[in-house]
């Protein structure tokens, strides 16, 4: 998201340089650059340089701890990576996680937003409650859900009340990823609910009045007034959820450590484990590079698809 901010800043800067530069303009131009400096320095040191380093390190055998300097080893890291079963499993898990979570989480968030977008007493209470998980640290949420997911934890106790024998959520390879998906949706949907809500409130009330005068039902109002009015919000939500889903790490690291049997391992988790626990900086850089390419490709595809729709409108 910060990259988008910089791009926007650049866009305004370049549009301004098109004008004839008056004296005051020159000064304000300098001020703008000066104000950009702190963010620029931080971005370069903590984003651009590390990304650049990743490109270089991925082709070396650099180690976290080693008395010997790193050596250039060509594409060795990549051939090793593509032969690694855990990598393909992690990639599969990451894609599955994203494919499931993007539609469900945005739909749940939209439903919540529509529910609380009413003038009713106590609606602020529900807004707060739905948003509460978002302001809670993911680490805390993961710890709490870990207890709830235990074989004799809260969730299975509730299931037992209705006569269902719950599985060992985090211990069973068939259920662990689903368990992570459920808790991730619960944690993050409040954030997207707020964004949907802001989108809903930009839709003028007259449209609904007109629609109801025309005799449109509640569903027709949603389908023909609300949904078209939310197109821009929908694009934003689609892209942010997708990126967040691909970078799944915290929950995995705390709740399952990638297990059981790699059923919850993700690409980012694998990169962190390889780079820090196993101290293979070069190999981890190669994983990060592959991840970078995948996320870039997905973002570009999404951008292309959504831009097409805008033009067609």
């Amino acid at each position: 998201m910060s990259a988008a901010v910089v791009a926007a800043a650049r866009a305004t800067a370049s549009s301004r340089s098109g004008h004839s530069l008056k004296k005051t303009d020159k000064h304000s131009h300098r001020t703008a650059l000066l104000m950009l400096l702190p963010a620029g320095v931080l971005m370069i040191t903590f984003l651009l340089i590390p990304i650049g380093l990743t490109f270089v390190l991925a082709f070396t055998n650099a180690r976290l701890i080693s008395p010997e300097p790193a050596k250039f080893i060509g594409v060795g890291n990549f051939t090793r990576l593509f032969e690694n079963a855990t990598f393909w499993k992690s990639l599969g898990n990451t894609v599955l996680f994203a494919v499931v979570i993007v539609p469900i989480q945005s739909a749940v968030a939209l439903a919540l937003a529509v529910l609380i977008n009413t003038r009713m007493r106590g609606v602020n209470f529900f807004r707060t409650v739905y948003f509460l998980p978002v302001v809670t640290s993911m680490v805390v949420v993961s710890m709490l859900w870990m207890f709830m997911y235990q074989p004799n934890g809260l969730i299975n106790a509730l299931l037992a009340k209705v006569g269902i024998q719950g599985p060992d959520w985090l211990g069973d390879p068939h259920w662990a990823l689903l368990a992570l998906i459920l808790m991730s949706i619960w944690q993050a949907c409040g954030f997207h609910m707020v964004i949907w809500l802001s989108g809903l409130q930009t839709i003028p009330g007259e449209l609904y009045e007109a629609a109801s005068l025309d005799g449109a039902s509640r569903w027709q109002q949603f389908a023909y007034v609300t949904w078209p009015g939310l197109r821009q919000t929908a694009i934003f939500i689609l892209i942010t959820i997708t990126i967040a889903a691909f970078s799944l790490f915290t929950q995995v690291n705390i709740m399952t450590q990638g297990g059981p049997l790699d059923s919850t391992s993700t690409v980012v988790f694998m990169a962190v484990r390889t780079g820090f626990q196993q101290q293979q900086t070069g190999y981890a850089s190669a994983i990060s590079l592959v991840f970078f390419v995948i996320v870039l490709a997905v973002s570009l595809i999404q951008r292309y698809l959504t831009r097409d729709k805008e033009a067609g409108r």
Partner: protein, 433 residues
């Protein structure tokens, strides 16, 4: 107006960055060893003990005594929380800002020695010959660290439990055999009296897995790596002995003798009477004795063929290779190796004192004392985790492999993958020559 804005922004920026640069300066001042007025040299010392008051106090006492005993050097203790300690050391090493004296977890010693973090403890051979071998950090024939204590894994259970099911109480000379142990667990399981017949504490994470479970593998006759040249794990980690271990390990779960994943507080399960037998370190002895008194038994681990084995090596002290005043650091190390300090730290931690003379000073660890049995286990059964710089990698591979096996992965395939990865790592580092 804009010019003034520009100046204002610039001034704000300078003001904002100033504290950082100042902080950097003051940080730079506390380098590993620095001379102060009056000719006293300061030696910085790092420890992982910030969260462990008793042990930290014992270490502080040694330092206070040392600082009072002479005027040439002054040791300055800086304590870190254990969770972030290793990262701090690695980061400090990268920035060439390691302290003169630091503690390390035993299995990391060879990795840090190879990486050039640690310097050999020259001229201390006489003093260190009195220490148990399992508390010394050795690599390539040199000693890099010594520890005050060790820990002994054992089978904690109650006399009344074993008697109820007619199970023989094993001794150090005649431990349980594999068949005997399985029969005992089956009997306990079938009785239904215990929710958990046997607890291997599989819910623990991190170093616990190689520390606790690689001795079981070694008792079967396998190992983490071939120890003749530390080049390959082929045949040792995926041979028939290792396969037998893997099948037994998974069998515990399929036969419902252990829980697939232990609870968050397995020692509490034992103290509450839910667990019949728990595989635990001697650190749990004090609580268990308090609860069950004379009924408590601390039994030797099972003999799966090559005798019972337990992991050796806990936290140890060393001198950094970059220390600008090695003479002073070694002087402290010699001073701090005195038996009375070994005893003091062992009392504070309730762990096994590293020297015979110290053991005689610690209540319970004197010959025939209640805790003497742990010292005997440590002396008789302890196997060090392989002293190769590749150990840190081996540990992560073994942990993942053991977890996969426990969860039902094909044992031979899982072990073969681990061997492949370990061998590749050893080779890519040129076998740490």
């Amino acid at each position: 107006m804009p010019k003034r804005t520009a100046k204002l922004v610039l001034a704000t920026l300078v003001a904002a960055t100033l504290p950082f640069t100042l902080a950097a300066c003051s940080k730079g001042g506390t380098s590993s060893s620095s001379a102060t007025s009056g000719g006293t040299q300061t030696l910085t010392m790092w420890t992982h003990n910030a969260g462990n008051k008793a042990e930290l106090a014992a270490i502080q006492q040694i330092v206070t005594d040392y600082n009072a005993s002479q005027t040439s050097y002054k040791v300055d203790v800086q304590a870190f929380p254990q969770d972030s300690y290793n990262q701090s050391v690695v980061a400090a090493a990268a920035a060439k800002k390691l302290p003169c004296i630091l503690d390390t977890d035993g299995p990391n010693v060879s990795n840090w020695a190879w990486a050039g973090y640690l310097a050999p403890l020259d001229g201390m051979d006489d003093i260190l010959s009195k220490f148990m071998p399992s508390v010394l950090g050795k690599w390539n024939g040199k000693t890099y660290s010594y520890g005050y204590y060790d820990v002994a894994l054992n089978m904690m259970t109650r006399k009344s439990t074993l008697q109820k099911y007619g199970i023989r109480i094993p001794t150090i000379d005649s431990p349980w055999t594999s068949d005997e142990f399985t029969a005992a667990l089956t009997k306990i399981r079938d009785s239904g009296a215990y929710k958990i017949p046997f607890d291997l504490q599989t819910g623990n994470t991190g170093e616990w897995w190689p520390y606790a479970y690689s001795p079981l593998l070694q008792s079967f006759g396998g190992d983490l790596i071939n120890r003749t040249d530390y080049k390959s794990a082929q045949g040792t980690l995926n041979g028939p002995e290792a396969l037998a271990w893997a099948k037994w390990f998974r069998g515990l779960v399929t036969n419902k003798l252990i829980p697939l994943k232990s609870s968050a507080a397995p020692d509490k399960d034992f103290l509450n009477g839910n667990t019949a037998i728990i595989y635990n370190g001697s650190w749990g002895a004090a609580d268990a004795t308090k609860k069950f008194g004379d009924d408590m038994l601390f039994l030797p681990p099972v003999d799966f063929g090559k005798g019972p084995k337990i992991g050796g090596g806990s936290w140890q002290w060393g001198v950094s290779a970059g220390c600008s005043n090695k003479q002073g650091a070694l002087d402290y190390m010699k001073f701090a190796a005195a038996d009375k300090y070994v005893a003091a730290v062992a009392v504070a931690t309730n762990l096994i004192p590293a020297t015979d003379a110290a053991a005689a000073m610690v209540p319970g660890f004197e010959a025939g004392g209640a805790n003497d049995i742990f010292r005997q286990y440590a002396k008789k059964y302890a196997v060090l985790r392989p002293p190769t710089p590749g150990y840190t990698f081996i540990a992560t591979e073994f942990t993942k492999t053991a977890q996969d096996i426990l969860n039902g992965a094909d044992p031979q395939q899982a072990l073969d993958t681990a061997v492949k990865n370990i061998d590749a790592n050893q080779a890519s580092n040129n076998y740490f020559q």
